[in-house]
């Protein structure tokens, strides 16, 4: 079959000779992919920043597909169902899944206890091949996959497998109260969605910060928020303080993670020398920009080692930090309702639709922000 094949940092291949996946567990399903996104966090893999990313792996944790085959213990799906597949691989029975922490499943990732299994996200997240392929094996198919409701656009559905729930949970973890000022660091797809979702919680003011003008313009229209380029200000923290009567934002959201721009020290130590788990510039700014007693919500992805952040300020300001991988299954019913009611428009974030055969171009384009790329979707030949 045709699938993306990782060959090393900044090198991927559209490989037509990949073996088709097989049922390996009674609760598996095989899904024929209809749409698959490249996520901003896939770029951390592509750039070689996530440990135990092995040559020969297929990435892709945001996908929809048609059920082709089911294991003997699957009774809630049938062949032919068109499903959206959450990026978390979750058993549904461990103490974490029982409490709806589906992103923290204890029975899906042998390689690391700190993160649950994720499709196509290195062996640090379980060693599963992902959905940037024609077919994919879906473990615990009785828990994660959700049938796409009649009338829902397939592109909305694929955006419900990660981007929308992650953006929504970023706002949810912020504990936003009516009238709050929310600052979102990062105008990528997740940051833009977090800004959009902040209104659903009653934010009084939403500000998004980035360094790419085309993304800020997009965010301003899509999320109806204020958008500022940190390159045009000397000190983003001071800017936020002045913008909030020297008080600080009520809620700050880090939607950037380990490849943040804006600080030479963080960039050199985090991205060039790998002396820390990526550059923590956005988190640094978030902690320093939030008010005393405020909340910092983290959905940006960092590596598993360590980062330079002002933890002393977290203590002295009494900041609450909330973070997690999105629990997609928990959020899907609510988000499906928001999409069907027209309150959210996830597919509006998609800027590029690219054949799976051109996956190397898609990665390069997204990585280097060519052609004002915000969110690329891959279309396998069988689904074109």
């Amino acid at each position: 079959m045709l699938a993306m094949n990782y060959r090393g940092p900044f090198r991927v291949r559209a490989d037509r000779n990949r073996p088709e996946p097989e049922i390996l567990h009674p609760r598996d399903a095989i899904v024929r992919v209809t749409r698959s996104c490249i996520c901003g966090s896939d770029l951390h893999l592509y750039h070689g920043l996530v440990p135990d990313t092995r040559v020969g792996m297929t990435f892709g944790h945001e996908f929809t597909g048609i059920v082709e085959e089911i294991g003997s213990d699957i009774h809630n799906l049938k062949v032919g169902d068109h499903v959206m597949v959450p990026f978390n691989i979750a058993c549904g029975s461990c103490p974490f899944c029982q409490q709806e922490l589906y992103g923290n499943c204890h029975e899906s990732n042998p390689e690391a206890t700190a993160v649950g299994g994720i499709f196509g996200y290195s062996h640090t997240a379980g060693g599963y091949d992902g959905g940037q392929a024609e077919y994919v094996r879906v473990p615990y198919a009785d828990i994660g996959p959700t049938i796409i409701p009649p009338g829902m656009d397939i592109e909305d559905a694929v955006m419900l497998t990660d981007v929308t729930p992650t953006g929504y949970q970023a706002a949810e973890m912020g504990g936003i109260q009516k009238g709050d000022t929310v600052v979102v660091f990062g105008a990528g797809p997740i940051g833009i969605m977090a800004a959009r979702c902040s209104w659903l919680f009653g934010a009084g003011r939403v500000i998004i910060i980035d360094h790419l003008d085309y993304r800020l313009e997009f965010a301003k229209k899509y999320a109806q928020c204020e958008a500022y380029n940190f390159k045009s200000m000397n000190d983003p923290v001071l800017f936020i303080k002045k913008a909030t009567d020297y008080f600080g934002a009520d809620v700050c959201i880090d939607a950037v993670g380990c490849e943040a721009e804006g600080s030479s020290l963080q960039t050199i130590t985090g991205r060039k020398l790998l002396l820390q788990a990526g550059s923590a510039t956005a988190l640094f700014w978030a902690i320093n920009s939030v008010k005393k007693g405020g909340i910092v919500s983290i959905v940006g992805v960092y590596g598993p080692t360590w980062n330079l952040v002002p933890i002393g300020n977290v203590l002295n300001k009494g900041i609450t930090i909330r973070a997690n991988q999105a629990s997609v299954k928990r959020l899907l019913p609510k988000l499906i309702d928001h999409v069907m009611a027209g309150r959210l428009d996830p597919k509006g974030l998609i800027t590029h639709r690219i054949p799976l055969e051109e996956v190397p171009d898609a990665y390069h384009m997204f990585s280097t922000k060519l052609d004002n790329c915000i969110k690329p979707v891959l279309i396998p030949p069988l689904a074109a």
Partner: protein
């Protein structure tokens, strides 16, 4: 969501500590910053005493964190550890996830693995097309002017370096003769 109360672990903990003056008097279920992400049921107190899913059969080498007792019920079978990078990965998994030796060895293994990938391609008679694999077709399509500029500068710098080296070499030979 079913709330699990009075598990054996709970009862043990409660009975053990009830003699402490004031034990549990300020307990407040609302004092839980994980809400609404976590629907607390008390299941945490069960630890690993839950009904585990059936175990996936293991047909290849799967490394597992030493912070857990064994494999998870399901696991990915993408690429087993092999070659020099595999040796490094096996070594890395002797250390816990809290150890820098674990992660830095894995990063080293990844870099070695990238070279192994090229060797493996050539061994199988496949010459990797770096131009295509690095997505430079997109660069050419969307960023042609800058690409041409980079190529010209790159060629000029390389040519200058080669010219200087040749010039120095010639000078050395002349001085020697």
């Amino acid at each position: 969501m079913k709330t699990i109360t009075n598990t054996t672990t709970d009862k043990k903990a409660i009975n053990k500590n009830q003699h402490i003056n004031g034990w549990g008097i300020d307990a407040n279920p609302k004092n839980n910053p994980t809400y609404p992400m976590k629907h607390y049921t008390g299941a945490d107190h069960q630890r690993l005493n839950y009904t585990r899913p059936k175990q996936q059969e293991q047909h290849m080498e799967i490394l597992h964190s030493n912070e857990r007792p064994g494999l998870t019920s399901v696991f990915g079978t993408s690429v087993p550890p092999q070659g020099l990078s595999g040796m490094l990965r096996r070594y890395a998994f002797k250390f816990s996830e809290g150890s820098s030796a674990h992660w830095l060895t894995l990063i080293l293994a990844d870099r070695v693995n990238a070279v192994e990938g090229i060797i493996d391609d050539v061994k199988h008679g496949y010459v990797p097309n770096f131009f295509v694999e690095r997505g430079w077709r997109a660069e050419w399509k969307y960023n042609r002017q800058k690409t041409v500029k980079k190529l010209i500068i790159g060629t000029a710098v390389t040519s200058a370096v080669i010219a200087i080296l040749i010039y120095r070499n010639k000078n050395k030979k002349l001085q020697a003769s």
